[in-house]
Symmetry: D2
Subunit: 135 residues, 4 copies
């Protein structure tokens, strides 16, 4: 799926370009939209008691972007073990790759204990597993 | 009291100056420090069950600031009725006034109902009332 | 015009609601969209050498919003003298007013000197003057 | 060197913890302070015409932090080739490691062309080279 983010004036810095920390925020925006599109909105995850913290991110800045740029963000499942999920992000300005990143997530219940998705949330497991195959 | 905030690179925008939205955040930083200095840290307010939302703010931008500037922020109680609190903020770069603002707050308990500070939290009431006189 | 902003996860705070500083940023988003719709995109203003700093803002928080809320923002010209521009903002969640604010702007050239819009940029002047009448 | 950052209220999110994007900003704060301590303030780098963009970052979230936490940030030079610089960051809450990250930088002149630090800025080169040895 292609999520779009329009670069806001307050996201630029005195170099005249988008401050690099904002791409981490756009990864989150795109991730939430990706999961919602697959039927797992943040509200549903919350209702079902699934918390999915960010364990790590990595970010590669290829080209700069700036105010008013319309950035297209592609999200995919790079790896999924049932315990950990690795997502990949590619951001484009028109057809130019401007950013590439990854985020790693685990799954916790409301008590902060790890969830085994395959047995506890088989429908969520199937979706992520299928996405991994499709990438 | 004089709270200090050093302007961060990520707080600047493509005009080369501090983005105006950040001053609202510094007002909050200075307000929390002011209350802590008077014996009412955020942790204590939370423990005692006092929530103090922002009802309104107003902000007057006098001079620009930019990366690495060391901004001194003076906070005072402008008005306090026991139900509503109005705080004033003056921000300085060296001896130059760069910003002037106000924020209005009410007081709610954890259930979201208004608190009458005079009867329920007399110690907090006395402190704010004294600050109003001293301003 | 109705500008829309979807509340992002990173715009919430530990109270579980949108941090109040973000509304100031959404005012900017909506202001830029409003001017663009009237034919004065930020790029055009920059090309023609018009800089329009924020002189002051005021903000009234009526109701809280939170993650994923789809906020509709209405912008209008409250006052325009040719030298100063006052814009008004009303933000709605469905049909509920959640925020009301104003911003005041002046107009400077690239050298930082005030511009008299009526003589120097009559087309821009006419547009703002007409919007004032229409409000 | 140990840089300190106090977690601000507006840096928390509705999970009640520091939003993960802020650590990327604190890396920048600590990096700028580290270079300044070594005699290369941002102002000096700018005066001498050295621009040092972020090429990549990676971030490992070990423990959560929240409002009012006093985070200590240790910066070191992990690698330096004269063309590229890799910095390492460890963030602590008291004696508990909460975050580990790295950032990669290149060096450009004002025209955006790569600088060879060894020949063009030998003093800056020596400092970074020595820091690499000392780590």
């Amino acid at each position: 799926m292609m999520y779009r983010h329009k670069v806001q004036y307050y996201e630029t810095d005195k170099m005249g370009i988008t401050h690099h920390s904002n791409y981490i925020r756009w990864m989150e925006e795109a991730r939430i939209a990706f999961l919602a599109e697959k039927g797992w909105s943040y509200a549903r995850l919350e209702d079902e008691g699934i918390i999915s913290p960010v364990v790590s991110v990595d970010a590669h800045y290829k080209k700069t972007t700036t105010f008013n740029d319309d950035v297209a963000i592609d999200v995919c499942v790079i790896d999924f073990t049932g315990v950990k999920l690795k997502l990949g992000y590619k951001m484009y300005l028109e057809d130019k790759l401007v950013f590439e990143g990854e985020s790693m997530h685990c799954f916790l219940n409301k008590e902060g204990r790890p969830i085994r998705l395959k047995s506890e949330y088989p429908e969520f497991y199937e979706m992520l597993d299928l996405e991994k195959e499709n990438k």
